[in-house]
């Protein structure tokens, strides 16, 4: 991605450098060539439609190449590949908290393997922050109350700056960290270092503890919709709309269950707003997503030992 952005940047530099040079040369040349001289008067010229059109149309066409190229890169930046490793991120004044799917937690330091797509699923506990890794040429604001997403594909092992790019209060400039890109095998070793449980498993336990499982059963008998295979699919709502079940949809359904009622169900679910932390919410989202990975539709892939509902 960095190479793509740099290529476009260099293209823009060259084109706008030429345009600036053209203007500079014209201004300097005219200023000198047509400086006031005795015996010569200015020649009046009203204008020229042909020239006006020329310097409207040509710049417009050049601008459209800037637009198209930039849009293509952005489209890619906004579309994380489906095979990405996922990292849940919670930003707060003034630190970055990361949680890997495997359950490792980090603060202000993010370890990722080289050569792998990494998708950041981010939210904030307080104000707006922004996840900015200059070396990867990516930036995404992190908002309270919803998820925003970005992704990257690091190729070279090393340590890179992580900055908060949205002004967030007193220690804004101290809300920094690093992204440590490791060789895959070093990464495996680092991963196996901690004894934590996978995020989806944490989510599954919460799912039981909070009683979600009593209504969201893996059959059609529950008072709430069966969540198996729902993630990433379109969902028909009671009011006739259809939405895609993404991270923000699952999040909203937990915090504001009445906002989007699935067709055929009643608004009976209580809200969990204020009762669970952002980290717990992330775990629940990760669990709901994990229900997709089992083609048989059994939500048992993350913890095969767990009893069937």
């Amino acid at each position: 991605m960095a190479n793509n952005v740099d290529a476009l940047f260099i293209f823009l530099l060259v084109v706008s450098g030429l345009m600036t040079l053209l203007i500079f040369i014209m201004v300097v040349y005219f200023a000198v060539r047509y400086r006031r001289q005795p015996g010569r008067r200015a020649e009046q010229i009203d204008g020229s439609h042909a020239l006006e059109i020329t310097w409207s149309v040509i710049p417009f066409c050049v601008f459209m190449t800037f637009f198209m190229w930039g849009a293509l890169i952005y489209f890619k930046e906004r579309t994380p590949p489906s095979d990405s490793a996922e990292v849940y991120t919670v930003a707060k004044q003034w630190m970055w908290k990361f949680e890997h799917m495997e359950g490792q937690r980090e603060i202000n330091e993010l370890h990722v393997p080289a050569g792998r797509n990494v998708k950041m699923i981010m939210t904030s506990q307080d104000v707006i922050h922004s996840f900015f890794v200059p070396a990867f040429r990516i930036k995404q604001d992190v908002l309270p109350g919803r998820y925003t997403v970005t992704w990257f594909h690091a190729t070279k092992p090393g340590t890179y700056h992580l900055f908060c790019a949205e002004y967030c209060g007193t220690m804004h400039s101290g809300m920094i960290g690093s992204v440590v890109v490791m060789e895959p095998k070093d990464y495996e070793a680092w991963m196996s270092g901690g004894g934590s449980q996978p995020l989806a498993l944490t989510g599954e336990k919460l799912f039981t503890e909070l009683g979600c499982v009593t209504c969201h059963r893996a059959d059609t008998q529950g008072r709430g919709p069966n969540l198996v295979g729902v993630f990433g699919k379109p969902v028909m709502l009671e009011d006739g709309r259809t939405v895609t079940a993404d991270e923000n949809y699952v999040r909203e359904s937990i915090l504001q269950p009445e906002a989007k009622i699935v067709k055929g169900f009643k608004p009976v679910m209580p809200t969990f707003q204020g009762q669970i932390s952002d980290e717990q919410l992330n775990a629940l989202v990760a669990y709901v997503k994990s229900l997709n990975q089992q083609p048989s539709g059994q939500p048992g892939n993350v913890a095969a030992a767990s009893p069937q509902p």
Binding site: I45, S48, L51, F63, M64, Y74, I128, F132
Partner: protein, 545 residues
């Protein structure tokens, strides 16, 4: 009329008609009100500039060592709020526009002289509220007031700062309203729309933005104050609000506000380039339509400030595309100014030096705007020093250069005195060099990844050398700005008396005495010529010194 010079001492003018503080504070003369504004905006310009110098000094070293983090946050916040709301927005319209528009169209005054005075008082009330904010310990929201930081988390004087911005907005609305009505209703016989100086066209376009855009930011700012005091839950997601809603409302005004700041500057440059090239403007109609085009399309591009803020992919694509549309009329203007010089008879007085500077720096500011409008690039450079450099090239390199150029161009008319040409050229050169040294390195810093609003960058010592260059440039720039203030004041007493038309320029303002009388014209002027009729003016610009 050329003989009027000799009589300056005895002749009655708007300046010596009445004396005493009351004759100024209760005046309804647009020229006197312009001077009242001039004092206000000059005061705020130097306050805002002082904050900028402290910012630059802090960034001289990577560690946060000169001031505390909170102090630094207040400095950049108040620098931004003062410069945008109390200098850049009113500067050209309320000073030069106020002084010149009635004269340029052959009128005695603006359509609503009392409202004009009222708008100055409102501006001053806003200014006093801003000063109270500063003296009470300042505010650290960033000039953008982003929520929920501003509404729920900061402990500083957010409400008085919001009130200051809110109040000053009404001054801007009233000035805009006054200019629109004046341009429609007060033009002298023969002063058709196609004969208006582009300076008037530029202010007409600006006024439309002021009248239509300012209420929106006023609403947004009031909602911030209400949310902060009453916890309404409009912008704060914890209360069911949406923080992006604030950004939409804020930028719906604050992007067009960029054009409030730059369009009047474009008007000034058109006047100056024509005069010192002895030429009619190249493509008059295209220039006028480009001004209106920028004003209209400028309302449709606001979300390009939000490409990484969490707006949808397709919204981002549309706003990127529209942002390129607004670049086309800007390009037309640059090419037309340049072409106006073609086959001219050019002299290099101070105003023209500022015009050269404007064309170059505005071009660079505009072109780097195209980088930011390009989505793929914006993601990397937004909220970095690249953005800071870009908008300072437009605001300072463009607008402030134009403002200073205009002040030098019309100073003889305003004060009746000539400024010292040699000092003027020196100051113009210092401003140009100082400006580039200050802001060019910031483009590089931004691409290297230095985020804006960072008090401390000790984690990235590689940023230091460019910051040192930038701070060095800022000191040169400061000298460049102090000089004109000093010699303008000096010239009021010691400057050579100005002839009615020191530049042999076209335009009604040069047909009346310098300084003008209270009612501008002794007889109703009748216009029978096109704007910039330099072919009918036999004399060249007198060579100074």
């Amino acid at each position: 009329m050329a003989t009027a010079v000799l009589e300056t001492a005895e002749r009655e003018t708007y300046l010596n008609r009445e004396y005493g503080i009351k004759s100024w504070l209760l005046t309804v003369d647009h020229k006197r009100i312009a001077l009242l504004y001039l004092m206000g905006i000059t005061f705020f310009f130097f306050i805002g500039g002082f904050f900028a110098l402290l910012i630059r000094l802090e960034l001289l070293t990577p560690a946060g060592d000169l001031v505390q983090a909170d102090t630094y946050n207040k400095l950049f916040t108040m620098h931004g709020q003062i410069m945008v709301f109390f200098f850049l927005i009113p500067a050209v319209p309320a000073v030069l526009g106020n002084f010149l528009i009635p004269i340029m169209i052959g009128a005695r005054d603006l359509a609503f002289p009392r409202i004009n005075l009222l708008s100055w008082y409102i501006y001053m009330i806003g200014g006093v509220l801003m000063l109270i904010t500063i003296l009470n310990g300042g505010v650290d929201t960033g000039w953008t007031f982003y929520t929920p930081l501003s509404t729920e988390f900061l402990k500083t004087n957010v409400v008085t700062a919001a009130l200051a911005v809110f109040v000053s907005g009404f001054s801007s609305i009233l000035t805009g309203l006054n200019f629109i009505v004046t341009t429609h209703r007060m033009r002298a016989p023969g002063m058709t729309w196609n004969r208006l100086p582009l300076f008037v066209w530029a202010h007409y376009a600006t006024s439309i933005i002021q009248v239509l855009g300012t209420p929106v930011v006023a609403i947004a700012i009031v909602l911030v104050a209400l949310e902060r005091t009453l916890h309404l839950g409009i912008f704060n997601p914890a209360l069911g609000g949406d923080p992006l809603l604030f950004q939409h409302l804020f930028w719906f005004y604050s992007h067009p506000a960029v054009y409030i700041m730059i369009l009047p500057g474009m008007g000034i440059i058109s006047e100056i380039v024509c005069c010192f090239s002895r030429k009619r403007i190249f493509g008059y109609k295209a220039m006028a339509m480009a001004l209106l085009g920028i004003a209209v399309v400028g309302f449709l591009v606001w979300a390009h400030h939000m490409f990484v803020a969490g707006i949808s992919l397709y919204a981002a694509l549309i706003f990127s595309l529209l942002s390129y549309f607004v670049a086309v009329p800007s390009a037309i203007k640059v090419f037309n100014w340049t072409s106006t010089m073609y086959k001219g008879s050019i002299t290099y007085q101070t105003p023209m030096l500022y015009a050269f500077g404007f064309i170059g720096l505005f071009t660079m500011g505009g072109l780097t705007g195209l980088f930011l409008a390009s989505l793929g690039i914006d993601v990397h450079v937004t909220d970095t020093y690249f953005v800071i450099a870009h908008f300072h090239y437009i605001m300072v390199g463009g607008m402030v250069m134009a403002y200073l150029g205009g002040m030098h161009f019309w100073w003889p008319k305003i004060s009746g005195r000539m400024y010292p040409e040699g000092w003027g050229r020196l100051a113009a050169l210092l401003v140009f060099v100082g400006f580039n040294l200050t802001f060019f390195p910031q483009f590089v810093l931004g691409y290297m990844g230095m985020p804006r609003r960072y008090w401390d960058y000790s984690h990235s010592p590689e940023f230091q050398i460019l910051n040192v260059l930038s701070t060095a440039g800022a000191t040169i720039l400061a000298v460049g700005y102090l000089l004109p203030m000093i010699y303008f004041l000096w010239s009021m007493r010691y400057g050579k008396p100005a002839p009615d038309n020191p530049w042999n320029a076209a335009g009604l303002e040069w047909t009346i005495p310098s300084p003008p009388t209270t009612y501008n014209f002794d007889e109703q002027p009748v216009v029978t010529w096109e704007a910039y009729n330099y072919d009918e003016i036999k004399e060249e610009v007198p060579v100074a010194n």
